[in-house]
C-alpha cells in the first residue's frame, strides 16, 4: 500500500511536536525513521496508527485516497497495524485468545477451530513455532512480537509500523524478524521501521527519513552514510561557551564490578571511580541502561553483584534512605510523577525536604525558607503556589531547590529537558557551584552538546553495554552519536574500567 503523509502538524499545548512533515512511502518499501528522543517519531507514528489525531490541515493518503483515522481500530480497518515497543498484549491469556481478540467481526462466539487453522497457517508461513493453547506470559519479548505480527496480518494490515522492535530480543530472533520483514515487503507490504539503531536501519531499510525537533530534516536511500545520518539526527554543534575543566579531589563514588539487571537487560561489571567535584555525563538512547545505572547509584536499584562505596563507606545493598542520609540526592526526570507532590505547595516541599523534626509546622520559618529559595533559584511562583501550577522550567528549578546541603553526590535525570537556553545556563551555574563545594554530579541527558559542555567524563550506554569513560574534552558529538547508535563498539564490549 502506498502511504503519503502531507503537511502533518501536531501541537501538544505549546509544544509543536510535528512541524509540517511530508513523507511518501511506496508500496513494498521498508522505510526507516531515525531520530533522537523527542524528535517527533512516536508522534508521527501515533498519528498514522490512530492513537492521536493530527491538527487540521494535515493529510494522510493511502493508495491515493485521503483518509481520516480516528482510532487504532479504525487504523487496522484501513490496513495500518502498529507493533509497539512494549507489546500491547494480554499476558495472562492464551495465545489463541490474544490472537483473535482484536477482530471486530468475530461474532459473539468466535469459531475457535477456524481461527486456530488460520493461526497455524500464518505461523508456519513465517516459520514461527507457537502452541496456541499456551499462555502469553510464557513467551519471550521476541515471540510476543512474532505473535503480534501475525495477528496484525490476520486482521488485514498492509502497512506495518514497528517501534524500536529490536530492543529486548535475541540476535537470532532479530535475524528472523528481519527475514520476515523482507519477505513481507517483497509481497507488497509497506514496512515502517522506527529505530535509533543505525546498524539495524542500515542493514534493513531501503529508504530512510530523519526527524529532528519535529521536522523532517533529511531523507536518504542506500548506500547509507553513517556520519551524514548522525549529523542529521543530532544537528550541528553549537557551543555553549568555554568548557570549565573540573578541579577534582578525592574519590567520592567507587563502583567495583557492579552488575545490574532488570526484566529487559543486564549490565555487567561496571567499574567507575568518580572524584569529588567531577561531573559524569551519561549518554545513550532512552532505555539503554543509563536509567538503571543512575538509580543504582541512588540506592533505588540493588546491584546483583559488585560493591558500591561512597567516600570509602560501603553502601552496597543499603536502602535509598541510607544513601540519602549519606549525602546522595536523586532528581528524577518525571517531575510530577516522581520528583514533586502535586497538590502540595512550594512551601510544603521545601519544609519536607529539610527533614523537619518536631511536631508543629513553623509556618513563618517555612514561608521565609520558601521565599529565599524562590528568589535564589529564580522560580516564577509564590510560596503558596501548588507545584502542578508551575511551568516545566519552574518545576525543574523547584526540584533543584530541594537539594539538601551539604551534598556528596547529585544524581540528575535530564536536568534541563524542555528548558530554554537561559534556564539551562542558570541551572548548570547552580550545579557547578555544588561541584566547587566538593559534590560530584552524575547526569543523564539526551542532549549531546549539554553532555560535552558540562561533563568531565562521559559514559555511553547502548543496549545494556557501557563504554569506557570518555574524556569529554577529547571527543565529539559525531563520535558519541555513533556510539549511541551502536557503532564503533569493541566486539566483546561489556564492562568499563576507569
Amino acid at each position: 500500500m502506498n502511504v503519503a503523509l502531507k503537511n502533518i502538524h501536531k501541537h501538544f499545548g505549546k509544544v509543536h511536536a510535528n512541524k509540517g512533515i511530508n513523507l511518501t512511502i511506496p508500496s513494498g518499501t521498508i522505510q526507516g525513521i531515525l531520530g533522537e528522543n523527542g524528535a517527533g517519531k512516536s508522534t508521527l507514528m501515533k498519528i498514522l496508527s490512530g492513537f492521536i489525531q493530527a491538527d487540521s490541515g494535515s493529510e494522510i493518503i493511502l493508495d491515493g485516497k485521503p483518509v481520516v483515522i480516528h482510532s487504532p481500530a479504525d487504523a487496522i480497518h484501513h490496513g495500518v497495524g502498529m507493533l509497539h515497543q512494549d507489546p500491547l498484549d494480554f499476558p495472562p491469556m492464551r495465545i489463541l485468545d490474544n490472537f483473535l481478540i482484536g477482530r471486530s467481526s468475530g461474532g459473539l462466539f468466535p469459531n475457535r477451530k477456524e481461527v486456530a487453522q488460520d493461526f497455524n497457517r500464518l505461523a508456519q508461513e513465517f516459520d514461527f513455532s507457537f502452541d496456541p493453547d499456551n499462555y502469553v506470559d510464557t513467551l519471550t519479548v521476541g515471540e510476543r512480537q512474532q505473535l503480534e505480527i501475525i495477528r496484525l496480518l490476520w486482521l488485514g494490515a498492509r502497512i506495518l509500523i514497528l517501534d524500536e522492535p529490536t530492543t529486548g530480543i535475541s540476535a537470532s530472533q532479530k535475524i528472523k524478524l528481519f527475514a520476515t520483514l523482507k519477505t513481507l515487503a517483497e509481497k507488497g507490504m509497506t514496512i515502517i521501521f522506527v529505530s535509533h539503531k543505525l546498524e539495524d536501519v542500515e542493514s534493513l531499510c531501503n529508504q530512510v527519513a530523519v526527524l529532528r525537533a519535529g521536522e523532517l530534516v533529511g531523507e536518504m536511500k542506500p548506500p547509507l552514510d553513517t556520519s551524514t545520518l548522525v549529523e542529521m539526527m543530532f544537528g550541528k554543534v553549537v557551543t555553549l561557551g568555554e568548557r570549565q575543566p573540573a578541579k577534582t579531589g578525592d574519590t567520592m563514588l567507587d563502583l567495583q564490578n557492579v552488575s545490574l539487571e532488570d526484566a529487559r537487560m543486564k549490565i555487567k561489571n561496571i567499574n567507575l571511580n568518580v572524584h569529588a567535584g567531577e561531573v559524569i555525563g551519561l549518554a545513550g538512547m532512552e532505555g539503554s541502561g543509563q536509567g538503571m545505572f543512575i538509580r543504582a547509584c541512588a540506592g533505588l536499584t540493588r546491584p546483583v553483584g559488585g560493591r558500591v562505596q561512597l567516600k570509602g563507606h560501603d553502601l552496597t545493598g543499603k536502602s535509598y534512605h541510607v544513601y540519602k542520609n549519606a549525602g546522595v540526592n536523586f532528581l528524577p526526570a518525571a517531575r510530577l510523577e516522581e520528583g514533586l507532590v502535586p497538590g502540595l505547595s512550594l512551601t510544603d516541599h521545601f519544609v519536607l525536604a529539610e527533614q523537619p523534626r518536631g511536631i508543629f509546622i513553623d509556618r513563618t520559618a517555612g514561608e521565609k525558607l520558601a521565599e529565599d529559595r524562590i528568589k535564589s533559584f529564580n522560580i516564577r511562583g509564590t510560596p503558596l503556589t501548588m507545584v502542578e501550577a508551575l511551568s516545566g522550567g519552574n518545576q525543574q528549578r523547584a526540584e533543584l531547590a530541594l537539594l539538601q546541603s551539604p551534598l556528596s553526590l547529585v544524581l540528575l535525570e535530564h536536568p534541563t529537558r524542555g528548558l530554554d537556553i537561559e534556564s539551562v545556563i542558570y541551572i548548570w551555574g547552580k550545579l557547578k557551584e555544588r561541584c566547587r563545594q566538593g559534590a560530584s554530579i552524575i547526569f543523564i541527558s539526551s542532549d549531546l552538546e549539554e553532555i560535552l559542555q558540562y561533563s568531565d567524563r562521559v559514559l555511553v550506554f547502548f543496549s545494556g553495554k557501557v563504554s569506557q569513560p570518555i574524556d569529554a574534552a577529547n571527543t565529539s558529538v559525531e563520535q558519541l552519536g555513533q556510539l549511541i547508535g551502536g557503532k564503533g563498539w569493541p566486539e566483546n564490549g561489556g564492562g568499563s574500567h576507569a
Partner: protein
C-alpha cells in the same frame, strides 16, 4: 466563574438541587409526595429536642469514623475495613466491662478503660489491614473487606458462644450491663454529652494533625504521591501504618461509645453501617476536615428523620440512604464536570 471557591460552591449547590430532584422523581413514580416526605424528614429530625438528641446519638459515631477516615484518605488509602474496626472497638470494650462487672473500682474508671480498650482494639484490627497492605501487598480494600466479614462472624460467635446470655442466646445480643456502666446521659434524653465531647475532640485533633503538623504534611505527601514522598526521604510504609492505626483507634472509640453510651451490650450489627456512611461523608466533603461536622450532622439527621417515614407515609426508611448515596454521586459527578470544563478553558 468555574474557578476558585465560589465556582466550586455553585457546582456543589447544583449537585444538591439535582440530587433532591432525582430523589423527588423516584418518590413521584412511587406515588408519594416529595414535599411531604422531605417535610416529614425535617420534623422527624429537628422537630423536637428529643428527636434532635437522637440525631446527635447517630452523629457521634459518624463523626468519629469520618475523622479517622480523613487520616487514611490523606495517606491515599481506602480504609473500607473501618466497619470491622468499629466492631472490634465494641467487642474489646464489652470484654473490658465483663472483666470488671463485679469489681468495686469506680465506674468512671471502668468506662474510661473500656473506651481505651475499644481504641486499642480498633487500632489493632486496622493494623492487620495495614500489615496486609504494606508487607503482603494485599490491597487495603480487599483486606479490609475480608476483615469486616471476620469481625461480623466474631461478634456472632461471641453472642451465641462464650458470651451468651443466661438461658437462650438470641440475636438481641449479650446480657445488658448494669446502669452504672453507662456514659452519663442528659436527663430524659438518650444523648451523652461525654460521647458528644469525645467525638468533637476527635475531629479537632484530626483537623490539627492535618493542618498544622509535620506528621500531617508527610501523610499528605505520601497520599498525593507515594513515589515522590519516598524520594523526598519520607519512610512511606511507616506513615501508611500510622494512618491505619489512627483511623482504627478513632473507629474503635466509635464502637466503644456505641457500647457504653447506646446499647450497653454487644449486638450483632453494632457498627450499624457507620463505617460505610463515614466513607460517603469523607468523599462528600472532599476530605476537608473543616466540613466534617456540618455534613456528618446532616447525614445523621437524614438517618433519624427517615425513621418515621414507614409509619406516616408507608415509605421505607431506606429513603435516607438513597438520598445520601445520590447526593454523593451527584457531587462527584458535578466535580468531574467542573474539572472537565476547567481543562478546556
Amino acid at each position: 466563574m468555574l474557578k476558585g471557591r465560589l465556582g466550586g460552591f455553585i457546582f456543589q449547590f447544583l449537585a444538591f438541587v439535582l440530587a433532591l430532584g432525582f430523589v423527588s422523581v423516584i418518590l413521584i413514580s412511587a406515588g408519594a409526595s416529595p414535599m411531604e416526605a422531605y417535610k416529614n424528614m425535617l420534623t422527624g429530625s429537628v422537630g423536637s429536642m428529643r428527636k434532635f438528641a437522637e440525631v446527635l446519638v447517630s452523629f457521634v459515631p459518624l463523626l468519629l469514623v469520618t475523622a479517622g477516615l480523613l487520616i487514611t484518605f490523606s495517606a491515599g488509602l481506602w480504609n473500607i475495613g473501618v466497619e470491622g474496626q468499629i466492631v472490634l472497638g465494641a467487642i474489646i470494650s464489652v470484654w473490658v466491662f465483663r472483666l470488671f462487672v463485679d469489681s468495686t473500682l469506680p465506674p468512671a474508671l471502668i468506662i474510661t478503660l473500656a473506651i481505651l480498650g475499644g481504641m486499642i482494639g480498633g487500632a489493632l484490627w486496622a493494623s492487620l489491614a495495614g500489615a496486609l497492605k504494606t508487607f503482603g501487598g494485599v490491597n487495603e480494600i480487599f483486606g479490609g473487606l475480608g476483615l469486616n466479614f471476620v469481625s461480623t462472624a466474631l461478634t456472632l460467635y461471641l453472642i451465641f458462644g462464650p458470651w451468651k446470655r443466661e438461658g437462650v442466646a438470641s440475636m438481641s445480643g449479650t446480657a445488658p450491663f448494669p446502669d452504672h456502666f453507662s456514659l452519663p446521659q442528659v436527663p430524659e434524653l438518650r444523648i451523652s454529652l461525654w460521647a458528644l465531647g469525645i467525638a468533637l475532640v476527635g475531629i479537632v485533633i484530626v483537623y490539627f494533625i492535618l493542618q498544622g503538623t509535620y506528621f500531617g504534611l508527610k501523610l499528605k505527601a505520601v497520599g498525593k504521591n507515594f513515589r515522590a514522598a519516598y524520594l523526598l526521604g519520607i519512610p512511606t510504609w511507616r506513615y501508611s501504618m500510622y494512618s491505619f492505626l489512627i483511623c482504627g483507634a478513632l473507629a474503635g472509640v466509635a464502637g466503644a461509645v456505641q457500647v457504653a453510651g447506646v446499647y450497653h451490650r454487644l449486638i450483632p450489627s453494632i457498627s450499624s453501617g457507620y463505617g460505610y456512611l463515614g466513607l460517603m461523608v469523607a468523599m462528600l466533603i472532599n476530605y476537608q476536615a473543616i466540613w466534617a461536622i456540618p455534613v456528618a450532622l446532616f447525614f445523621a439527621a437524614l438517618n433519624i428523620g427517615s425513621i418515621q417515614l414507614p409509619i406516616v407515609m408507608k415509605l421505607d426508611s431506606s429513603l435516607a440512604g438513597v438520598l445520601q448515596g445520590v447526593l454523593v454521586l451527584f457531587v462527584l459527578l458535578m466535580e468531574g464536570i467542573r474539572q472537565k470544563f476547567l481543562k478546556k478553558a
